[in-house]
Amino acid sequence: MSVFDDLVGQEAVVEQLTAAVGAAAQAVAGGQGAGMTHAWLFTGPPGSGRSVAARAFAAALQCPDRGCGHCSSCHQALSGTHPDVAVVVPEGLHLSIADAREVIGRSARAPTRGRWQVTLIEDADRMEERTSNTLLKAVEEPPPHSVLLLCAPSVDDLLPTIRSRCRLVPLRSPAASAVAQVLIDRHGVDPAMASFAARAAQGHIGRARRLATDEEARRERRDVLALPRSLGNVGQALVAAKDLVDAAKEEADKLAGTRDLAEKEALSTALGGGATGKGYTGSAPKGGAGALKELEKRQKSRGTRTQRDALDRALIDLAAFYRDVLALQLGTGAVPVHADLSDQATTIARGSAPESTLHRIDAVLDCRTAIEGNVAPQLAVEAMALALRTG
């Protein structure tokens, strides 16, 4: 057993990281440790297991037995309680400069257990340029024992100054068969369902698991993929667009509804709200309102991000649907992503030319870019729906 067992279909990466862990162990023992370095950049498409790989690497670095997976150090590192492993997960739209400064301060400390001071930043692509520049100092002149692990979809998501100082760990989309095998082995999913979910999720392991185990997720996917059929006239296209945006919003609200309220209550309790007894006036203490407002701002940013993420997932499913259509039109014989919708894909493939399918794929991808560029989501999706209608 090893901490790297959780990585699906990433043999080359496991080999690279295992070698580095060996070198790191040498360095800890006082050797030269050639092959270990202070900054690592994990790249790969969403769901390929960037953060899983980074966490496993962090655990292996801390483990006296090079990542055995069962010692207390490994358990702590993987569950996020190891004192020398800090995980930064930007929940909002951006990673702030304040967060980056905290990372720098932390990485300068000596490791409490004498091995490495590891800082893992998930979604490092959410750093704005000025945040990256703040972090640059720590990457450029690292304190000894400090290891920085960055995760991003691709190398282009980071400033050249940052990425040129990192060693690259490129993960690839795991093959559908590998994902299906994981679903069968670890989650006891029925083989037919596993193979459907693995293909529909396009290599995104987390999404495949949700599709295989959650009826709600399957229903949402079906609703999204009904869009190409509901583009009869301009009005219908606009309504379909609105439905898509509303579904994303609803999902974000549902998530926010439970989490935001709990957080707000926890904070106001911490500030002494609702307390009884001697000395309490019953009103919130001074300065408490500011802290609450700050929390609300963070929650709003997180809500926007959840909504965008949900919308983005829907758009990826749509793009894949038109990819299936194109594959049919050109007769490539490629395995369809959405095998359950091949009837629809065939109908659309017969009724249009490959050129217009390409235009449609472009429209979907343009919509993703537009939403990322802050265009009002409803407007962006409407423009896409109208472009899909005309082809």
């Binding site: 009005g235 265009v375 109208l386």
Partner: protein
């Protein structure tokens, strides 16, 4: 002009519209000075008053001097000082005119009711927010001298000056003193020209109606007065979306459509009129152009103003091309 009963011992001015508040205060001060030019005016800040400060202010003067006391931000008075004010209000000194300024709203509402209960004269100075209220105020202002004012003249002045009440009233005063006879759009035009403000929706309406020149003119006016380009693209998107929904809903009674689309009936009627000039393909092209422009004004293009103008051009062309 001030009526003689301005000089009541107690006055409360309720509201936050600065101009109206200032007018109410100066009306009292003017009337008091007209009666006795030596009247002393003192101002107090409700938030800064300590208990006991008021005793000194409200004690009758040895020589019977007349005084006007302006109590600003009466809603910020502490519990103790508010009680002192009320105690005084129950038995006011005849030489003192107390003018309490209250922001309105829920804060210290009890003080306000108690003062009015004690016989204070209440002057309304609520914030003027609606266009129609602004219009009424301006009309009153112009008619104050018994002059004739045409409705078009009021519109012309509103267009030229914008929404700032102070500026509107001073322009009205200027017009009244500089001209004679009825006030017509021509009279206004002699002194004021152009347009101070233009809204995104006004621009969108022009563009959707196919009036490119009108839309561009409004956009330029808007740019010179700081109208954010984002407001123009979002208004365009909104208007085009309504047109598309109404157009594709087909022929239905207005009220049924209003319920179905979630729009007020007047908007359905207006949109139906606008929809007559459009074909579905044109709408499709226009909305896509607006979506592209929305990305442009949010940092996608170097010149947001140009992006907006190009979107307007695209919308008007899309309307024409598909006819």
């Amino acid at each position: 002009m001030p009526p003689p009963d301005v000089l009541t011992p107690l006055t409360v001015v309720v509201g936050e519209e600065e101009l109206l508040v200032a007018r109410a205060v100066s009306a009292v001060v003017r009337a008091a000075r007209a009666r006795n030019p030596d009247t002393e005016v003192s101002e107090l800040d409700g938030g800064a008053l300590q208990a006991g400060d008021l005793v000194e202010v409200f004690s009758p003067s040895l020589f019977g001097d007349e005084r006007v006391v302006v109590l600003r931000a009466a809603q910020d008075l502490s519990k103790e000082t508010a009680a002192e004010v009320l105690a005084y209000a129950a038995d006011p000194v005849p030489e003192i005119c107390l003018v309490a300024l209250h922001a309105g709203g829920a804060k210290s509402k009890a003080l306000l009711t108690a003062l009015v209960g004690a016989g204070a004269r209440r002057v309304e100075a609520a914030k003027v927010t609606k266009a129609s209220e602004r219009r009424d105020l301006l009309r009153m202002e112009l008619r104050g001298d018994g002059r004739q004012v045409s409705e078009d003249a009021v519109t012309a002045l509103l267009d030229a000056i914008g929404n700032d009440l102070r500026e509107l009233c001073s322009a009205a005063g200027q017009l009244l003193s500089d001209t004679e006879g009825p006030i017509t759009p021509e009279v206004v035009g002699r002194y004021h020209r152009g347009r101070a403000e233009s809204s995104g929706f006004a621009i969108a309406d022009k563009a959707v109606d196919g009036d490119l020149a009108g839309a561009l003119e409004l956009v330029r006016w808007g740019q010179s007065t700081g109208l954010a380009p984002v407001l123009v693209t979002s208004a365009l998107a909104n208007t085009l979306r309504s047109v598309a929904l109404v157009a594709s809903a087909g022929r239905q009674p207005v009220n049924a459509l209003a319920g179905q689309l979630g729009m007020p009936p007047w908007k359905v009627e207006k949109t139906q009129r606008q929809a007559r000039g459009w074909r579905p393909e044109g709408l499709s092209v226009a909305l896509q152009a607006v979506a592209a422009a929305d990305g442009d004004v949010k940092g996608g293009a170097t010149d947001a103003a140009y992006a907006v103008e190009r979107a307007l051009l695209a919308v008007v062309q899309a309307r024409g091309a598909a006819r």
